[in-house]
Amino acid sequence: MESNVDEYDCSVMLTWFMFRPASQSGSSSGSWIFRFSSDNVVQSRLAASHCHYFMADDEDEMLDDKLLSCVNCMRRRWLVDGFECYGLPS
């Protein structure tokens, strides 16, 4: 999934994620916050299908029966009310 990452335009992911700059997030490089509920597997799958950075998490940590879904990605980090992605470049 990581081929052609140099040519990848992250703006396509703005449909599913909003970028929170470092000044507003706990991360020194900012963070990408999933715009939808973490239960919304339809949007989670759509987002992952457009992402070049998907990396499957341990099977026990997956929450969608379809593999290619952001909630199954090792690069998502659960938050109190959703998840953030730190696979996408800031």
Binding site: M55, D60, E61, L63, D64, M74
Partner: protein, 264 residues
Amino acid sequence: MTTTWLICIDDTDDIGTKGTGEIAEEIMYLIMSKSHLNSVNETENNIAAWVTRHQLFVHPDIPYTSHNSAMCFELQSALSLSQIKQICTEHLLAESASVADPGLAIVDKLALTHDDVVNLIAFGSEAKREVKTKDQAYQLAKDVNVDLSEHGGTGQGVIGAIAGIGLRLSGNDGRVKGKISVGLAENTDYISLSVNQIIACSGLDGVIDIEGVKRDGEDIIVLSGKVKAVFVHDQFLLLVYQSLDNQTGKKHWCNALKQQLKKY
């Protein structure tokens, strides 16, 4: 003479490294193997159960990597605490991610008093909804005689490790690590088995539906994909839900979807 050990680890992994559940399972098998080698009486050893995954609180003040969960297992062994701990420690040091903060909790389950169990369960429950500290974890460990130790980094994993012991003791928390073997071949879409057949071939204690009702032995379950179990009522149970067959119009029981397993 054997001892019933409860062992829990937390905060051992990082992105792209071996998962905490896999490390826990490896430790379980290592202890079983060493128990066998050191045993005078083989029947006194090697009674192992499943590794369970326990979800903990996710909060900005908690430095987890991508999720916050502890992995716990129970087994009987004639090995001493120091022997068990040596096996665990060596494997944690060898397999944990370099940036991880591993914690390890070991306790003789049957030596716990009722009050100890109550206190451990309370800590585990609180660790699912509030931020706990290392000091609190170590104080509890001292109070209830849990051997709690850290093995690198900040050692923050001790919090999850002792919380996982409490949640396992509650008998009502967590999912079983890995998929349950029910004879479903890789190239087979599904298999239909009765509850009794599932119990016989998997070693699970039974089948429960998402409403919390235990299914009868003759109920037929359609099994497909990754078959997963949960830890409820002190039992390892296959979780199922009722699905409508669009072709026949009939309802049948199916193994749970990942979204349904999420709350365990």
